[in-house]
Amino acid sequence: MAKRAAPEVNAGSMADIAFLLLIFFLVTTTIETDSGLNRKLPPIEDNVEPPIIKQKNIFTVLLNGKDQLLVEDEVMELKDLRKAATEFLDNGGDRTCDYCNGEKDPDSSDNPDKAVISLKNERETSYKMYIAVQNELVAAYNDLRNTRASALYGKSFVEMEANLNDVNWPGNKEKLKEQLEKIKLEYPQKLSEVQ
């Protein structure tokens, strides 16, 4: 009985098969976007007296149906919005805010806690413009918080928030949370939308 060796299977076409599968997965892959701007809607409350807010503490942003911006009764380009909002929030007109770097103009907002940004849009406003404006306003808050966090803790606010959500971060999370709360209290996000 001659023992014959099993013949080699030709593996030359394995690459072709693998390519076929590869191309299938390449085509079907969609990179899912799972990030965006988080917002909180106000709850519906009936018969609530609207709080009385001084006119100088309100920063009105109007977005009309043709995607034009009207900020504090003046036409403005989108690129200038962030700076204008930052200046308004950081003004500190009543001089109680010792961490503000603004101009302390008595005709602008009293302090970051009282300053409110009011955003109004029309039904015809396009979504992309609305998102752009929302983004710029959130950016204004984030810029201020970043500056404050860098001054206090030597790290930017955004970085600290990322650390908080990072499971592998080695530092003390309780302390980090406290620090974040403090900054959020100093620059509270008061962004109201008019219906």
Partner: protein, 158 residues
């Protein structure tokens, strides 16, 4: 001199392609692992706007998706006005309440306060529709929302 002549005239040895399958398999495994199959078949155009102050949505199972946009080319008989899509079909504004209730019913009770509504809206939609959706969400007390955007400069929106 004669000793070395042999090599110079000879042609190049063929490059071995034996490791080609390995490389291809490596790529294949990467894409197999990275692929997420879409949950919903979109019947609308869904070109998300750009923003750069984004936060990540974690815990995928705690997100409810509401899509909106123009019906895509195959569904032109539904018109060209922006519409809402819930799950796999077009929906009306008044269907949102039922949709949220159904989503809540499918989750464990202690997780319900952490549910977030992600609005995946086409960038050319108008705010009237979004305003209606938001009003409806307020009525059913689903207050945590997220405007899903792509990461990029807002100036590239136009």
């Amino acid at each position: 001199m004669g000793k070395f002549k042999k090599n110079q005239g000879g042609d190049m040895p063929a490059i071995s392609t034996a490791s080609l399958p390995d490389i291809v398999f490596m790529l294949l495994f990467f894409f197999m692992v990275a692929t997420v199959m879409r949950q919903n078949t979109l019947k609308i155009e869904n070109n998300l706007p750009f923003a750069d102050q984004v936060e990540k949505l974690d815990k995928k199972d705690l997100v409810m998706y509401i899509y909106a946009g123009k019906p895509s080319a195959n569904y032109r008989n539904f018109g060209t006005e922006s519409r809402i899509q819930l799950n796999d079909d077009f929906a009306d504004v008044k269907d949102i309440a039922a949709f949220i209730a159904a989503e809540r019913a499918s989750k464990r009770e202690e997780l319900i306060p952490f549910l977030t509504t992600a609005l995946k809206v086409d960038k050319d939609a108008n705010m009237g529709l979004i305003g209606d959706i938001k009003q409806e969400l307020r009525k059913v007390n689903a207050l945590k929302i997220n405007y899903t955007t792509k990461k990029g400069s807002v100036m590239s929106n136009n």
